[in-house]
Amino acid sequence: MDVIATSRQLLESGAVQAVIGFEAGTRGIPRPAFIRRAEGAGALVFDANCTQNLGTYLTRPEVRTLGRVAVTATPDTLRAILQLMAERQLKEEDVLALAVDATGEALELPTAQAVEEHLAMVAQVLPDRDREALERLGRMTREERWAFWQGEFARCVKCYACRNSCPMCYCGHCTMDCNRPQWVAEPSHALGNLEYHMVRAMHLAGRCVACGACGRACPVGIPVHLLTFHGEESVHRQFGQRAGASSRLDYALSTFRPDDKETFIR
């Protein structure tokens, strides 16, 4: 059954109280949709343009109160679901992931294990554009890289579209909200922008599921996702794990294993 028929059935049977998916938006670009009644399922779409990571909605109070939800999930969203479970933000019984295969068939993945097995068959590959951008950044000298990011951050207006579209930025009281102490300068001047993006990149290292939602969300086109992608690649190289691979993943930066590389000790 396709996404529409599956969703209709899930809502009619009461197995879920809402389906979080996509509907057609302005200029034909899909946008998140919340279907609460079976009759509304006909609005659902699912294609390659459905890129917003719906996992970002799963920790919001307004969505939790809806009840058990089904989510039409790209591999990015599935990874987000597993990572949220690993971080104890989501329980298996609260969410039903709906993966959609190439023919448009919806696959119900009701358990973490089902999601993990499904993801194991999908290679996690960085989009070419991003891989090339990371390689370009890697070839730069430190000074060039610093200048590049200073130029990008100059456009930042601290709208937090990046943070708010990220499934892993779910903290009810974000570091940026804290004024005792004022960890990060709030205004969108050079220092405030730099501090924010650096802190966010650090907070996401080992947790980012590499969906790129943050970079896409930025209204002024700063490729912030490259920062967190780089952090993720770095964690993978040093600790051998990727966020979103399993619902029982330890946080790389606070877990000690005797066989951790100690290349920083010289």
């Binding site: 938006g25 302005t26 200029r27 670009i29 946008r31 998140p32 949709a33 919340f34 917003q52 970002t56 909605y57 919001r60 109070p61 307004e62 969505v63 456009r155 207006v157 601290k158 709208c159 937090y160 579209a161 943070r163 708010n164 579209s165 909200d177 300068a185 709030e186 205004p187 969108s188 001047h189 405030g192 939602a213 896409r216 969300a217 209204p219 002024v220 086109g221």
Partner: protein
């Protein structure tokens, strides 16, 4: 009384050079990496051609994202205050769309209501606008539904409309006449040019919406519309009329400064008290505030709408909170 001229494309550089010689900075739409930004230019060929709008609005010229309001030095038992001089560089906004040009009026309504904001006023005094009529639109535009139009003159000191070989130039204000006088050779007599702009059909009646909103405050539509809203500030920050701000202190033991920064009513902490109590604790309440501020409170307090129908919010929103669509749905709720 209309004061119209023909401004040849080839004379734009003459005009730019004259403005620059006069000590003015020119900000114009510039193509960069697939985006249209509002950046300083010196020559006409730097100006983006065929762009619809810039991503960020031009409000930054009068209401910057960070502005120092005062500073102080600290010593034991003593504080020395330093007033901040408003930083107002003479600036010309070139190529501003009529929707955006009309937005300064909404900023002025807040900054000068009852008490006068010296920082905004100093910048506005030093600002002049050469607007550009629209020959294209997209699905997000709805200027004609909020009292504007693709060729509307409100807010422009000179309004240009593309014609063969150049522009029909309407010189509208004293500031416009002063700019034209800097390059009189560029402003040729008008041979009877026709002002052709794109058609933007009216989608709704804002006065009817303002009336309807009075009954919708407790309606469930705001919770429904805001389910996908991320609560970020993208819409507020790209908007030409959004003016909510924060006052931020930055200091060390020796001194500090007080800054004004952009803020957004969509943020969860915008109205939160120090006690933790938050009068607008749900996104539904915050989304409703956005709509009501622009379409209910602005008309009530200032006699004008707080929206110019430019569509920047819709284009910037990561989850497509299409304002026109939401307003139409509210009008029918």
């Amino acid at each position: 009384m209309a004061d119209t001229h023909f401004l040849p494309q080839a004379s734009l550089d003459t005009l730019f050079a004259a403005l620059t010689r006069d000590g003015r900075r020119i900000l114009a739409p510039v193509d960069r990496d697939g985006r249209t930004e509002l950046n300083p230019v010196e020559h006409a060929d730097e100006v983006a051609s065929g762009c619809l709008q810039t991503v960020l609005s031009a409000k930054e010229a009068a209401f910057p994202k960070v502005e120092r309001l005062l500073s102080y030095t600290l010593a034991p038992g003593a504080v020395a205050l330093q007033d901040a001089e408003p930083q107002a560089r003479p600036t010309v906004l070139f190529g501003l769309r009529p929707c955006e040009a009309s937005g300064f009026r909404a900023l002025d309504a807040v900054f000068n209501w009852d008490t006068r904001d010296s920082f905004f006023n100093a910048r506005m005094t030093a600002l002049a606008v050469i607007g550009m009529s629209c020959t294209r639109r997209d699905e997000a535009c709805f200027c004609t539904s909020v009292g504007g139009g693709p060729g509307a003159t409100a807010g422009s000191d000179i309004l240009l409309t593309p014609v063969d070989g150049g522009f029909l130039a309407e010189v509208l204000t004293d500031k416009g006449r002063a700019m034209a006088a800097l390059a009189p050779e560029a402003f040729r007599p008008d041979p009877g040019l026709e002002k052709k702009v794109v058609e933007v059909p009216v989608a709704f009646d804002p006065a009817a919406l303002t009336v309807r909103l009075k009954d919708l405050f407790d309606n469930g539509i705001w919770a429904e519309q805001s389910l996908r809203c991320l609560g970020c500030g993208a819409c507020a920050f790209v908007c030409p009329t959004c003016v909510c701000f924060d006052l931020v202190e930055e200091a060390d033991a020796k001194g500090g400064r007080r800054l004004r920064t952009w803020d957004s009513c969509g943020g969860a902490r915008f109205t939160q008290h120090a006690s933790g109590h938050n009068p607008r604790s749900t996104q539904a309440q915050r989304w409703r505030q956005r709509i009501y501020h622009k379409f209910s409170y602005y008309p009530e307090r200032y006699g004008m709408l707080g929206c110019v129908g430019c569509g920047k919010c819709t284009r910037a929103c990561p989850v497509d909170m299409n304002l026109q669509e939401h307003l139409l749905a509210a009008a029918q709720a």
